[in-house]
Point group: C2
Chain length 391, copies 2
């Protein structure tokens, strides 16, 4: 039920199939982000129309509002949000360290202030694991301690050690719940309310921008258990991009090939191409929806800001190569009008296109890997994308 | 190409078919409002999915932004907004009198201040007609002078007389453009950029809440020309509802049966039932989308405010009788979450349901008329709708 097969490689780039309880996912795969149990401005039908295979939601946000009890009472996260394909929930570690107004970390867990109601709350590795079990995504993430991109080695070491200790506790709790689910006892939640499928837990590798810490962290994670996947966290959090690429380069040869690699929070089109070249299989980012809401659209010729007066009478589609509803139905002139007139439909149409763009980009990368032509393809793609002519 | 057939009646209620260049419309028909060339939060595909037959857009708004030249340059309003079914444009009279910060009316027309950029602009009967010809909707409306619901007889008489004088000018200009279009000369716009179909012009009957003025206005309109339809304006603008119903009752026996009757800006479900009972064929209102964006949903048991804490863990659909995407996919608990978490998808899902609700209501009314059972149907519908139990 949890299986990953690498089916083709081209240099370090890989293409494979990830099998999960709610479906299979062809990799490389871009996951749209549905932080609060909805990919902003898009419906599940929209997401299927643009070919999304797997969606990410957030434990911190759903715990704070509406609460995992509500989600579970309404049939679990899949049913709650009307998404019957694979789901992954982030553990909330990243949000506790980036969103909460106040937080106090100790070895037990983190006390923090909710960004919604200001109330004090506490997350521990066990709680984060239990919440995710209640939500019922196909993949749960271990609770991690994230430090900023420029953190020094001592700070990064401290967070890495804590993340590793927390990983053991997450894994133990997850195993207990899985056993409880299997035998119908020993779990804190009554089995009849359990999701009707099992969930897997993936560790998150931290270590900041310190190569030795990353390598040590990886070995200790691999020594701990046989994982069905591995997430790389704490990158794309403010460090220079070459530093991120250097970390991935170091790691790619050391992560066993059969383990799918999920780079968290990445990214923009150029990042996706770069990290797939460095062996990454899965990625997520709010960029397509957030940028879409700001009027910025991805195109093969680089980003287009649709609010620009240039597009006022432009009858061309946003992206002539694209098959999405936005590009096959509307002119740039109309899309600009929607943004200038502050119409809600504009937010949706650009979000829809941007998600479709990244999914098509992943499709193209898959095809290039499968014909073992990734380097040449990537170089041509970059030449066009970075030409930065106004298309 | 413009034809209306009354096919069934039940008391004063009528059901028929309106044939327009871009399609046929079964009446009674609710038209969703796409003020700025988009029905707020809904795509053309959404509108087709909920069965919308005809959409309304606004001359004032599209003239101010993006400008009728832009819309025409992008292929006309149908192509601009991606809607290939019938369209009707309001003339801008109502908006000039309700939205503009400043306005000065004289017999020639209205000078007003744009609500977008504050610039001074001028609309005359001729300009309003030319703009609508450029936009290219199936039905254009004559430019009218609207007075508030409580206007005294002298004020209402003044506005009625002006509206009648303006109607002659609109009709003359429209005839000139139609002739110009037919022979390819004499029109101010080059024929090759014309919409590829003809447009009809409907008069708007004013007269406030003064029965004698309404009757006189109607006779003078009917004496002026052979119209393909008639709009009743200046109602539902603040007067008590019984007053509006009394006006419609007076008019319904005096409007020749073969003329479709369009009551502008109405309305809520209970209004639709009441006015169809008084012989109205067409109506439009922003209520389904505006209320939807505020979290208020129409249901057969009366309105539901989805933000209410009652619905937090409610696994039922918004409206168990409804076949729309919202009701067949999501629970009330999820919809409430979307509103509480301020997610864009909520605005769309409730707008979608509310439009579908009014279209289904019109469908039901049509069926009741066709089996000559409107009065009984309406009384049962009202009993359930106004019970006002929290469903």
């Amino acid at each position: 039920m949890f299986e990953f097969r690498v089916e083709a490689t081209s240099g370090a780039a890989r293409s494979g199939t990830l099998t999960l309880p709610n479906g299979t996912v062809a990799t490389p795969c871009f996951m749209p982000v549905g932080t609060q149990g909805t990919v902003r401005a898009l419906s599940p039908a929209d997401l299927k129309a643009v070919g999304a295979a797997m969606v990410l939601a957030n434990t911190y946000h759903l715990h704070v509002r509406p609460g995992e009890d509500v989600v579970q009472g309404l049939g679990g996260l899949h049913r709650f949000m009307g998404w019957d394909r694979p789901l992954l929930t982030d553990s909330g570690g990243f949000q506790v360290f980036s969103l909460a107004g106040f937080r106090r970390v100790d070895d037990d867990g983190v006390e923090f202030q909710s960004h919604v109601d200001g109330g004090r709350r506490r997350l521990t590795p066990e709680r984060a694991t239990e919440i995710q079990w209640s939500l019922g995504a196909d993949i749960a993430m271990a609770f991690d301690h994230v430090v900023p991109g420029g953190a020094d080695e001592a700070t990064a070491r401290d967070a890495l050690e804590r993340t590793l200790r927390w990983l053991e506790r997450c894994a133990r709790r997850h195993r207990e719940m899985l056993e409880g689910w299997k035998v119908g006892t020993g779990a804190p939640v009554h089995p009849s309310t359990f999701p009707t499928f099992r969930q897997t837990l993936w560790p998150i590798l931290q270590g900041g921008t310190h190569r030795a810490l990353r390598e040590e962290g990886l070995q200790r994670i691999l020594d701990m258990s046989a994982w069905t996947g591995l997430a790389i966290g704490g990158l794309s959090v403010g460090e220079p991009k070459p530093v991120m690429y250097a970390m991935l380069e170091t790691l790619q040869s050391q992560i066993p090939a059969p383990i799918p690699r999920y780079l968290m929070g990445v990214g923009f089109p150029e990042d996706l191409v770069a990290v797939v070249e460095l062996g990454v299989d899965l990625f997520d980012c709010v960029a397509p929806t957030r940028n879409g809401r700001n009027g910025s659209a991805f195109t093969p010729d680089g980003p287009v800001n649709i609010r620009n007066a240039t597009y006022r009478e432009d009858s061309r589609p946003l992206d002539a190569t694209c098959d999405c509803e936005t590009c096959t139905t509307f002119s740039r002139g109309y899309l600009r009008h929607l943004f200038v007139a502050e119409e809600l439909l504009g937010l949706r149409l650009l979000s829809l296109h941007n998600v479709r763009y990244l999914i098509r980009l992943a499709d193209e990368m898959r095809a290039a890997i499968r014909r073992d032509d990734f380097t040449r393809w990537a170089s041509e793609w970059r030449r066009r994308y970075t030409k930065r002519e106004t298309p």
